[in-house]
């Protein structure tokens, strides 16, 4: 039985198609592998993202530990991930089931996010093609306060699906509020007008209140089935190359998105009277769009250093595509760390932190994967949240395990008094 279970997703640049979905059981007992095989043969692969197979391996690679490993792809973007579950002692068929389900939950969330990008960035493409799905917002907290009129994920997409799925109720409500304007032939437009009316409180308050309640109920029903529908939608169309080509190009390609980037990132020195921060050190990040400035804080101290390193390097070498190899640049990285946390953190810390970056050992001497993915995830998460507020894509502004930043360099501003110092760093 496992008592430690951790799923870590690493984007990897390439793996052959045959490897996708093969679960490598490293160090698992023969009998366990047999059970897993049996279980897999009973599973309905048409309901899963991949046809999984199992492969027993007892080779003990240095960094690897006992556990389950599988390459999976985001079926939309074709990004490849290596998912690992670290297991202790005996691994059971139920552990494998848990592993599969966890991976798929993660991937489905990613897909949900991708489709949100689609809806925001290309509403026409979206409304044309996503007529039968609804995408919930991150926290699923769908209520009537949301602005349905923005023809985005919350407008066009649910409108069509709600209208189509509940045409009877929906038509009644539309007629109630919109009068004879509402007809069966333009359900989707009705829905948007209806939501606008509710949102702007435009009409008879009693009727609106009634309509609001019904719409809210319909929306809630949609929410409960949204994710499965969405995944089915993507699965059914995953052969539609043109759609996905357009989709990936217009909505998810960071290079393409960078050409439309609106947000500027500022790096400033902390104000004299500002309290020192253990995580941010002496510098502060800000984002700005249309005159609105927002502080950008990453929860992990190394995420801050990491981001700063990428920003500096991007300004100096805007054409670099590959990520920075930290092993080669370790001394320069430490120097930046000292600079950022001078007098705040003990200089000794960095050696330990850097060591844990690649891999680490637990108390019983087992290797665990390093914290690199945690730092990257912290950046991705913070950026995503903040950029959603701007209604902008964060993709050009983050690095991944295999890519550098894509943001145009005029969108990166180092304040004058630190500019020279920062540009003095050289990463190879």
């Amino acid at each position: 039985m496992i008592n430690k279970f951790k799923l870590i997703n690493h984007p990897v640049s390439y793996t052959s198609n045959e490897k996708i979905g093969v679960i490598h059981a490293v160090g698992a007992e023969q009998s366990a592998v047999k059970q897993m095989k049996e279980a897999l043969s009973l599973m309905d692969s048409s309901k899963m993202l991949f046809p999984y197979r199992i492969n027993a391996e007892d080779n003990n690679l240095e960094d690897f530990n006992r556990g389950l490993y599988v390459y999976v792809t985001n079926i939309l973007t074709k990004e490849v991930y290596l998912a690992k579950a670290i297991c202790d002692d005996k691994v059971l068929a139920s552990d494998m089931a848990k592993f599969i389900v966890s991976i798929e939950i993660d991937l489905k969330r990613l897909l949900a996010h991708n489709i949100r990008c689609l809806a925001v960035n290309s509403p026409e493409l979206c409304s044309k093609l996503l007529t039968s799905i609804y995408v919930p917002r991150q926290n699923d907290d769908i209520c009537i306060e949301h602005d349905y009129s923005t023809q985005t994920a919350l407008g066009v997409v649910p409108a069509s699906s709600i209208a189509l799925e509940n045409s009877n109720e929906f038509l009644l409500v539309s007629k109630l509020v919109l009068g004879d304007e509402a007809s069966e032939d333009n359900l989707i437009e009705n829905f948007i007008s209806l939501c606008n009316a509710i949102y702007n409180k435009d009409g008879d308050p009693e009727k609106l209140k009634m309509a609001e309640k019904i719409v809210e109920k319909l929306l809630k029903n949609m929410c409960s089935t949204s994710e499965a529908k969405m995944v089915n939608f993507v699965r059914e169309r995953s052969e539609d190359r043109m759609f996905f080509k357009n989709f990936v190009y217009e909505c998810l390609d960071p290079e393409q998105l960078a050409t439309k980037a609106q947000v500027t990132i500022y790096v400033k020195k902390k104000m004299k009277d500002e309290a020192v921060s253990k995580n941010q050190g002496h510098y502060r990040f800000f984002t700005e769009k249309g005159g609105v400035h927002k502080p950008l804080k990453f929860g992990r101290e190394l995420s801050n250093v990491y981001m700063l390193m990428y920003l500096i390097d991007h300004v100096k070498q805007p054409n670099r595509k590959q990520p920075i190899n930290l092993k080669v640049n370790i001394e320069e990285f430490k120097r930046l760390y000292y600079d950022l946390f001078n007098g705040i953190r003990d200089a000794k810390d960095i050696n330990h932190i850097v060591k844990e970056y690649f891999h680490r050992q637990d108390k019983s001497g087992n290797f665990r994967s390093g914290r690199k993915s945690e730092y990257l995830d912290a950046i991705r998460k913070t950026m995503q949240e903040q950029f959603e507020e701007y209604n902008e894509s964060y993709l050009p502004y983050i690095m991944t395990g295999s890519t550098h930043l894509h943001v145009p360099i005029d969108k990166i501003v180092f304040e004058d008094d630190i500019k020279e110092a920062l540009l003095g760093y050289n990463f190879i």
């Binding site: 279980a39 309901k47 089931a97 499965a228």
Partner: protein, 247 residues
């Protein structure tokens, strides 16, 4: 042997073999509100949940009201003891199993795996599996509960009794395989549930198709798909609207 001991013994004997007489006429207890409240506190603790507010005298036997907004985070359970008894949940263990089922829903809130084409069904099977496994681990009689759910009919929200019972039995089987007195680890039960779910999706989805065709058939013979809102209670908003229009 004292008579009360004998009763206990008989009850213990019947614990897994439920039949209609057992369920409705023998092996019954008087259930009090206090008793339910006490069990609810114990079980919420087991699930690591804060104890839901409970109120008595609802329309349905047992009903969970999830927090309606992010501001209000209280979960409410509404309970009608008479109705519970009418369904056959008329002794303490059966009611505990029911509470366990509802708490499983709360525990897994928002988690949907999407392998069964109907997510409501999936959630029900999860709750049945969990409740049954936990009852077994608590060494409490779950037979009556399994009997009752096993006799339910299929609806949009609830699967055929047959599948529900099968999931409940699988939960029990897993719990029996654990060593006696082992601590209840919900994650392990969940893992086992997932395995059972994944290896049974084909069948569940076949049942679902069957249910859908049943519904279609029922509608076919009825000719019209129109919903008769006049049948609904006066609080129904669409009915209110329709009535207003008529005037």
């Amino acid at each position: 042997m004292y008579s009360s001991d004998f009763a206990t013994f008989m009850k213990w004997q019947r614990r897994e073999c439920a039949n209609i007489f057992n369920v409705f006429f023998q092996d019954t207890n008087i259930i009090t509100e206090e008793c339910i409240q006490k069990e609810l506190v114990f079980l919420s603790d087991l699930f690591g949940l804060s104890t839901p507010d409970i109120s008595f005298g609802s329309d349905a036997p047992l009903q969970v009201e999830l927090p309606s907004s992010s501001k209000d985070s209280t979960t409410r359970i509404k309970c009608n003891i008479c109705k519970l008894q009418e369904c056959g949940f008329n002794n303490k263990e059966a009611v505990v199993a029911c509470l366990c089922h509802e708490l499983s829903h709360i525990y897994s809130l928002g988690q949907s795996y999407g392998y069964c084409e109907n997510e409501h069904w999936e959630a029900e099977l999860y709750a049945d599996f969990m409740a049954s496994a936990i009852m077994t681990m608590l060494n409490a009689a779950g037979g009556k509960y399994r009997y009752i759910i096993g006799n339910g009919i299929a609806t949009r929200t609830h699967p055929y009794g047959e599948i529900r019972q099968r999931f409940a039995m699988a939960g029990r089987k897993f719990a029996l395989s654990m060593s006696k007195g082992a601590t209840i680890n919900l994650e392990d039960i969940e893992g086992e549930y997932l395995l059972f779910l994944l290896t049974n999706t084909k069948e569940i989805n076949t049942y679902l198709q069957e249910h859908k065709s049943e519904i279609n058939h029922a509608f076919d013979s009825n000719e019209s798909l129109e919903i008769d809102y006049m049948k609904y209670q006066d609080t129904n908003l669409i009915k209110q609207y329709l009535l207003k229009q008529k005037i």
